[in-house]
Subunit: 333 residues, 2 copies
DNA sequence: TTGAAAGCGCTAACAC
DNA sequence: GTGTTAGCGCTTTCAA
């Protein structure tokens, strides 16, 4: 053991411990074919014995690519992204790619936008899972895909999303199918909510029903849902059903219903959107629309890989079909 | 503009565009003092014009440190970590450090443990915000701190946590103070839950009250809380209050109460733990214990910085005092 | 199938 | 206050 104490082993240490050259070690690390089993075993044994971990910094620098995909997230509090990340990871991990998450609220002050941090990491692609800003996409110069429907288009970026308008229609038609006629909608800010509201509106109009839409002060939080639902219930006492733009707002709406003495589903049917962990909670057992975010994530990964192979690919939009998930927060009138 | 198209600008490009040497650029990047205002402005202008983003890979490799702190997270679904990250970030960002998150469920298959990935990133320190495993801390060779109380101790790592036992006592004493005598506790797996249960037990014993503890099949999820609370309510119909080991389990308990026809707080008082976003939802308005996770995060950051300055520092445990947050899920008997 | 050697873009120590 | 230079630990030709 000639290795100094305290120094981290590097590829040379492994190579000499295994009695091979460092290129050979590099090949083994990347699982390249055509390395003799004996040498491969020797290298693996040396890696294990020295507790060697390759430096990603060196690999990124030398290879001029990080094998990392960056994801720009909105807010950890809204759980819709969990399946998105899982879907991304499932596609990407087998190819040796990693996922790095950037939250706009963190690492601020170090970078002007979360994208800056990812560019400094030399990510090979970016998934924008938030409402994009001009500043943000000005900084991007790798393949990018926008996950989810947004108000603003990012030039040159593919879009992979669930079909929010169809989802809004599905939700509304479910309520209509249960016999409801006075159906309110609780909406918020952002492209997805806008489309869900359009779907709601289309379904109502198609049946000649009058739409009732309300929104809170902010975006799509629980308290926005609460506020908006109160407004709806107070202005339209005959309402028998509410469609909330997402599960978090539906939680708020459930609070409003409770505060107005309306039982769910006996007095008021409630449907959400996202099929987040919240929806399956026993207190809510919320009927909701599943945007199939894992498939959105997988689609985003594929779009990124396609585009990095051929940057000139036509920009496209991929829409995943949402599904109705029936629980017990909705009932026949 | 002699720069090739397509190539990313590097520090040389900036230097020559600004008419200075590359060390000067490096100094400006790190905000070093003692650079003349004129040259600093020239460098900043060049950075802006070329849209230059320094390569973190190169900086890490050359500087032999990444200025990044790694955080190992449990599960995105449980929101207790949100404030922890904020606290970490607030301490670290002014010093130019970044935070990288590793989720055990992601990036699996690439690494044996999430720690491997962070070591490959050459993080300067690690915050373990999950139940540690032997495999995990065998791989760590940078300063480490465990955030939160855990079953297993990590040798050489500081611990920063809220005082879960005191919190358990606080919660229980709040209920006792409201006149409750038949108080049940819903618990789960992990070190924090164990200590919270001890606090509950101590408070009950101190008043000569008989403890009733139940747990679900799994760890500390909503459905575990639901199951355990059902058990509690069915076996002890005289129960007038429940203390749940965290807010997520409290949500489950609220579902169980509803299913057994118990109104909160009229028929049953309910208290949670964590003061997560869930607790402030209007449907719950949950009285809870605030573990002050932002301060835990800040403490973890300080512990890491202290230890990297002097690795021989005595290992210590820092306990943050939890606080009772009263909402309307608890009421006098 | 394996080895040698040239960088990748930066930091830090030192010289001026 | 500013410039020069030697690596950091890898990947990637290219040759053997």
């Amino acid at each position: 053991m000639t290795q100094e104490i305290g120094r981290r082993p590097n590829i040379y240490d492994v190579a000499s411990a295994a009695g091979v050259s460092k290129s050979l070690v590099s090949l083994v690390l990347r699982g390249a074919p055509g390395v003799s089993p004996a040498r491969r075993a020797a290298v693996e044994e040396a890696i294990e014995r020295l507790n060697y971990r390759p430096s990603r910094a060196a690999a990124t620098l030398a290879g001029n690519r990080s094998r990392t995909i960056g994801v720009v997230l909105d807010d950890y509090r809204n759980l819709w992204f969990v399946d998105l990340l899982a879907g991304l990871h499932n596609q990407l991990a087998p190819l040796g790619y990693r996922v790095a998450v950037a939250d706009p609220s963190f690492n601020a002050r170090l970078d002007r936008t979360p994208v800056d941090g990812l560019m400094s990491l030399r990510v090979d692609g970016i998934v924008i899972a938030t409402e994009p800003t001009e500043e943000m996409f000005a900084a991007v110069d790798v393949p990018a895909v926008v996950a989810g429907n947004r108000d603003m288009a990012v030039p040159g970026a593919d879009v992979v999303a669930n079909d929010d308008m169809m989802g809004g229609r599905l939700a509304t038609e479910h309520l209509i199918g249960l016999g409801h006629r006075d159906i309110g909608h609780v909406t918020g800010g952002g492209g997805a909510a806008r489309l869900r509201a359009l779907g709601y509106d289309a379904a109502m109009q198609a049946r000649g029903l009058r739409p009732h839409i309300a929104r809170g002060q902010g975006l799509t939080t629980e308290s926005d849902g609460y506020e908006a639902a109160l407004k709806l219930l107070d202005e339209n006492p005959s309402l028998t059903a509410i469609f909330a733009a997402n599960d978090t707002m539906a939680l708020g709406a459930a609070g409003a219903a409770r505060d107005r003495g309306r039982r769910i589903p006996e007095d008021l049917s409630l449907i959400g959107y996202d099929n987040s962990p919240l929806a399956s909670a026993n207190l809510l057992r919320l009927t909701t629309i599943d945007g199939r975010n894992a498939e959105v994530g997988a689609g985003a990964a594929r779009a990124l890989l396609d585009r990095s192979q051929d940057p000139a690919t036509q920009v496209r939009t991929v829409l995943v079909e949402p599904e109705l998930v029936i629980r017990t927060s909705t009932a026949a009138r």
